[in-house]
C-alpha cells in the first residue's frame, strides 16, 4: 500500500471528526455560521494538503527542493502525530475555556448571594 495513502487513511478519521464536530456545533447553535465556514475551510485545507502530498512532494523532489529521500513511514507517523496533538490541544483549550467561564459565573453568583444574605440578616 502506498505510504501516501496510509497518511490520508490515518488522518481522515480526525478530519471527518473535525468536520462533523463543526457541523454539530452549528446545528446546536453553539457557533455562528461564519465560524462554521472558517472551521470547515480549515479542515478542508488540511485534507487537500494531505491528499496532494504525493504530487506536491514529487514536484519538490524533482526540482531538487528537498534534499531528502521520499517520505518514510516515520514521516507519516510524525505528521499524523502532529495533527493529532493539534486536534487534542484545541479540544482541551475549548474545555478549559468552558470550565473557566463556569468558575467565573459561580464566583459571581456566590458573591451576589452572600451579599444578599448579609443584607437580609441586617
Amino acid at each position: 500500500m502506498s505510504r501516501y495513502l496510509i497518511l490520508v487513511l490515518l488522518n481522515l478519521p480526525l478530519i471527518l471528526a473535525g468536520l462533523l464536530g463543526s457541523l454539530i456545533d452549528l446545528k446546536t447553535h453553539k457557533i455562528s455560521r461564519g465560524k462554521y465556514i472558517f472551521q470547515t475551510l480549515l479542515w478542508l485545507v488540511i485534507l487537500t494538503g494531505l491528499s496532494l502530498a504525493q504530487p506536491f512532494y514529487r514536484y519538490l523532489y524533482h526540482h531538487h527542493l528537498t534534499r531528502t529521500d521520499a517520505m518514510s513511514l516515520f514521516d507519516v507517523v510524525e505528521i499524523t502525530g502532529i495533527i493529532y496533538i493539534l486536534f487534542m490541544a484545541n479540544r482541551s483549550r475549548i474545555k478549559t475555556e468552558v470550565l473557566e467561564r463556569r468558575l467565573q459565573d459561580l464566583h459571581q453568583e456566590l458573591s451576589i448571594r452572600l451579599s444578599d444574605d448579609a443584607s437580609d440578616n441586617e
Partner: protein, 237 residues
C-alpha cells in the same frame, strides 16, 4: 398617582481603594439626591487587601465582596449581573479612584434614557482636558487596536464610565476579566447589534489616580489578550 422613579444602579468596581472610596460614594450620593432617579450605589470589592469594603459600607454603599481577585472585567460583570437580577432599569459603571465626576455620571444616565442608546461611553478624549500626552497616546493606541481587531471606532475605548440600558444589562456578556474587557465589551455589544454612543466627560487626575491607573506598558498586555481572544474565538464554541 406619582410615577415610580427609574431605578439606577451605580456600580463601582474597586480594588484596594480604601483611601478614596468613601469620597467617591459621597459625591455620587449628593449628586443623585436631587435627581429624578432612585440611585443605588453598589461597590464590588474585588478581593481587596485593605479596608475598601468596610469604608464603602460606612459610606452607605451596598457592597458585594469577591472572594478572590478577578480583575476589573470580572468585578464589573458581577456588578452588572447584580443590577440585572435586582430589577434595575439602567446601570452606570465608574472608576473607584475618583477620576470621574459624579455630574458626568448623572448626565450619562439622562442621555441614555433620552435616546435609543444601549451602551453609552463617557469619552475623556472628546474634550481632552487634563489628560496627559502619554495617556492620550495609550488610549488612542488601544482605540486603534479595537478598531483593527473588532471594527469599532470610538474615541475612548478604555473609559470606565459607561452607562447601560436594560437590554444591555440583560444581554451583554464578555469573557476576559482584566482591563481588556473594555474593548471586548464593545465587540460583544456590536455582535448583539446594541446601539453604542459616546458623550464627553472630564477626567480628574490626582497623584493618587495617576499612581493607580494603567501605564502604557500594560497596554501591550491588553493587546496581547485581545489578539489571542480574537484568534481563539474562531475555534471556540
Amino acid at each position: 398617582m406619582a410615577q415610580p422613579r427609574t431605578k439606577v444602579a451605580l456600580i463601582i468596581p474597586a480594588y484596594n481603594e480604601a483611601a478614596v472610596i468613601a469620597r467617591v460614594i459621597s459625591h455620587l450620593r449628593d449628586t443623585f439626591a436631587d435627581s429624578p432617579y432612585e440611585a443605588h450605589i453598589i461597590v464590588v470589592d474585588d478581593g481587596s487587601a485593605d479596608a475598601t469594603a468596610t469604608e464603602a459600607e460606612k459610606a452607605g454603599a451596598r457592597v458585594i465582596r469577591h472572594i478572590i481577585n478577578t480583575g476589573s472585567g470580572g468585578a464589573t460583570a458581577t456588578g452588572l449581573s447584580y443590577a440585572q437580577t435586582h430589577g434595575f432599569t439602567v446601570a452606570a459603571t465608574l472608576d473607584a479612584d475618583g477620576q470621574h465626576e459624579a455630574g458626568d455620571v448623572l448626565n450619562g444616565v439622562k442621555i441614555l434614557l433620552g435616546s435609543d442608546t444601549d451602551l453609552l461611553i463617557g469619552s475623556r478624549i472628546i474634550q481632552g482636558e487634563n489628560m496627559s500626552l502619554t495617556k492620550k497616546i495609550g488610549n488612542k493606541g488601544l482605540g486603534f487596536i479595537t478598531l483593527v481587531l473588532f471594527g469599532i471606532n470610538v474615541t475612548d475605548s478604555q473609559s470606565g464610565l459607561r452607562v447601560f440600558s436594560a437590554r444591555a444589562l440583560a444581554e451583554l456578556k464578555w469573557k476576559t476579566s482584566g482591563y481588556e474587557f473594555c474593548s471586548e465589551m464593545l465587540w460583544r455589544a456590536r455582535q448583539l447589534e446594541l446601539h453604542i454612543g459616546e458623550f464627553p466627560i472630564k477626567a480628574i487626575y490626582t497623584e493618587y489616580s495617576k499612581a493607580k491607573g494603567q501605564n502604557n506598558w500594560n497596554g501591550f498586555n491588553i493587546v496581547k489578550v485581545l489578539l489571542r481572544q480574537r484568534i481563539v474565538e474562531l475555534f471556540s464554541e
